[in-house]
Symmetry: C2
Subunit: 315 residues, 2 copies
Amino acid sequence: MKVLALMAIPAPIKDQIAALPNVQIEGPDYLAQHGLTDITAIFGWQGQLNDLIKENSTVRFVQSFSAGVDYFPLATFQKKNIVMANTSGIHARPIAESVLAYVLAFARGIADSAHRTPENFWDRDASRGDVFTLPGKTALIYGTGHIGRAIADILTQQGMTVTGISHHGEAVAPFTAVGTDQDSAAFAKAADVIINIMPLTPETHHFFNAAFFNALTKKPLFINVGRGPSVDTEALVAALQTGQLSGAALDVFEQEPLPATSPLWQAPHLLMTPHVSGAFAEIYTAAATILYHNLAQFVRDGSLAENQVDLSQGY
Amino acid sequence: MKVLALMAIPAPIKDQIAALPNVQIEGPDYLAQHGLTDITAIFGWQGQLNDLIKENSTVRFVQSFSAGVDYFPLATFQKKNIVMANTSGIHARPIAESVLAYVLAFARGIADSAHRTPENFWDRDASRGDVFTLPGKTALIYGTGHIGRAIADILTQQGMTVTGISHHGEAVAPFTAVGTDQDSAAFAKAADVIINIMPLTPETHHFFNAAFFNALTKKPLFINVGRGPSVDTEALVAALQTGQLSGAALDVFEQEPLPATSPLWQAPHLLMTPHVSGAFAEIYTAAATILYHNLAQFVRDGSLAENQVDLSQGY
């Protein structure tokens, strides 16, 4: 069987995969010449595959490089009985570190100082009044899956109280309380930091909109490490401009790459990173290892070893 | 006895101090009108006092607002048998958080992204290659006193290995190894992050100079939350320009306020904050509480309850 690898596979793992019975690795050149002909498994994704997969009947397994799979044609996979796995798990630690990095950048005056000029840099009285430490502060995390829990762990470790909102509202450690959408407004009002890590679904599109931001009373920080379209960008910019939010950090955007015309470039008290919160130096090894585990089992019995996506749920 | 308070004392603690037997609090107005006449204790400091204290014979106790006391006329205090206390202890948590904030700002791409423009912001391949997570990385802390230990604690908690350099070289938890100046070069070569929290003494002036930076082989991060003059600014700028350091974060400077003419304003991969790493919202309460404890004991028996400075050591 042919495996189309669109993401790099580090050498030692490539050798392990190539040693699996009947497995042959093909690359982007194969795709350019033969399309998906004879391809059984795909690692990674490209926009052109959305059309190609509709006509193809040989692909049986898709392994994403990402945790979120909202950009894959899940309905087509379901119809064609294609099994799918994501890389959920490997991003938990780096995303949790990124969230702590954003919170601390605001807490310790880095965000405020980054855009200062020689003329106003030493306005220490203003700076001193704004800096704070984390113990005793409250964070609310939208999404209590394993990445949400890793974020909750790293913030709890720093003395913060962490609450959560999830679809099911089930209590999960280390959250001190978990509610459902019904509890969202009340929980958000009590939070010093609000963090989104929800998957993108029709329900979460523009979940963080003007009504959400306008209801806040505590001038919290807002952090999005989930999906860009969960946030109404215009509403976020307005909330920063009016001071309804004391600051925000975005790693994901409604449109990626972030266009130069985005109003975010003019928004105050905003930190932005280019969708790297889940990245780390060893990411290619970690993702390829999941691919290897899944392929090894797939060639035996057609099932996946880990990280299988529930195509009807979208995560 | 009169207490000259040059720093704000929050109301509840002011009442407690005023209720001590024979204690009367005076402010900056008193200083302007009467100098140090009849003043027994001073809370805080101003440059003009360096001269006034030489002529005065009534001051017996000075309470600093800071942890470091290098800017006080310690030799004069010693000669006049003035006892002194600092606020060492209250700054440990905020400084440790600041160090973690700087490390994470570099690790998670915030420092790199902060100065990007709409044109180069989405250069994700460059960004992805540079981001990293903390577990397995090594930090070297110069200074293993209680602030150094608090920094070591917060970094160890994130999976980093932490070594230290101190005057005495005594092993202290959670440092995995502590050396003396003799070990400095070897320890520094092995570190991914180098942190200074040493007090300023003749030995530590320009300790981090061209020779120090040039001997590094691992392109580490350098963080100064100790004292500005411990770093040779020109040498640091050169180390950043040549890439000898992959980044630096400075909260303290050779000259404060940092002048607009400083070459630091042009240095690459540099984060700067205006001497706020020890600050936090409740700092006035925390410092005044130490003053109260010391005054309460001082009026009883002339000794101090906590944080007494060894005037011959300078900390």
